[in-house]
Amino acid sequence: MAQLSMQHIDKIYDNKVQAVFDFNLEVKDGELIVLVGPSGCGKSTTLRMIAGLEDITAGRLLLDGRDVTATPAKDRDMAMVFQNYALYGHMTVYENMAFSLTLRKENPNVIHKKVLAAAEILDLTSQLNKKPAQLSGGQRQRVAMGRSIVRSPKVFLFDEPLSNLDAKLRGATRREILLLHKRLKATMLYVTHDQTEALTLADRIVCMSMGHVQQVGTPLELYDTPANRFVASFIGLPPMNFFDVAVRENELEGKGFSVPLGEREKGLLRPYAGREITLGVRPEDVEADGEIGMKVFSNENLGMNTLVHGHIGGVNTPERKLSAKLRGWCDYREGDEVRVAFKRCHFFDRETGDAIREGE
């Protein structure tokens, strides 16, 4: 297994477009890191640079302390699983999984043992004689993973491997990847734009936007203490509600509502007294029976919860839009008035978007 170190990595394409800016990350042995962010944020480019499929414009990539920045992809001892599986259609599952080892001219008996072991791990033993076309999407992705496993690489790289699967299969395959990671204890880097995958799989998440790393931390850290407004809006479903509010002595004053401040918040927001900040409230932190009036415009029952969308004070403007995830089954109709309260709030600097935290 392996430790990976990315130091000040930049990627600038020939057309002068910079895709990645000063990427720094230390990946510990056996860690599963998820790179998450919207399309075009540079996460796949970063993964491809690590794999050796893209040149690194500036910076260094170290694998177990050895500089592999200029090492060709084939010599990096990393295996990549692609979104579109990249299986050979004319070969059976067995042949697909054995292919890389056959190219290396390994002993056929050794190859056989490795393929059977990988097939056992991935529950593919009964599919070994089938061609990829005879398999479901999830099974094909498992074959692609099996092809990586047989190589026993130092690092596994996954580039949106579940994007081609339907929702149910995605969930099942996600659990399989997690089990695989626990079983192999391998160093893995996983790219996705799906925050559910990121939150459920990762030991640590790297949240990216526009080529910049926004925050690195455990899933709970990113959810609970987002570093800035981007991370707060990206992590969490439905996304966080944001309001521009003025900081008063004892409360936050927004358009059509006010939020009383506790002693801790007062101390935290003292430097912002009299100024405007951004207040962030997760829909799951909104509870019924409060002081803030919301006029409902849509009601989505999710079973255990109900997602209620409305406007604060009944004024239909984007800055007053509020989503609330209320407990239980609710049957609000359009135009109903609901009284809500904010159980927990996040504060962001209005100019920089950075989170306002204690000790900063």
Binding site: Y94, P108, N109, H112, K113
Partner: protein, 164 residues
Amino acid sequence: MTANDERTLRLDRMRFTKNKASANLALLAILFDVCFFISIYESDVGAYYYNILIGASILYNLIFMLAAFLCSEGVKNYKIGYAYLMAALGLGQLARIFIYPMRSRGAVVTVQDVSTAVMSEGQFAATVTFLCLSAACLLAGAAVGVVRSRALAAHVASLDSRAA
């Protein structure tokens, strides 16, 4: 790893790999057969007898190529029946030596009042060689196919009995 383990693994591998040796030998046999029928076109035929012999040979070639190709695909998947058919085709190739090349060797026909040998010695040697090579490939491929198919069947049976 002991020699016995090696053997077991080799057998087990056959569950997932094709019998490429037999299949390729069958294809090679077809290639030599093609060389054979190209070489018989060089014959100077001035009599119906040789015309019919060559015509029949061409017809048989078509059937042979189809059958040999089917055998190639069959033995690739360890189907023992195709290995036996392959052996029969090999014996057929040997038998053919005694039909066209042997009967034409030294025969003379008159073409436009000129006496001509149906087949030169060189042509005779070439046709016999091609038929022999084709037969050898088929028989070798069939032998490999029979041995491997039986070994695989026994191995699968032992796995099944162990699972039961």
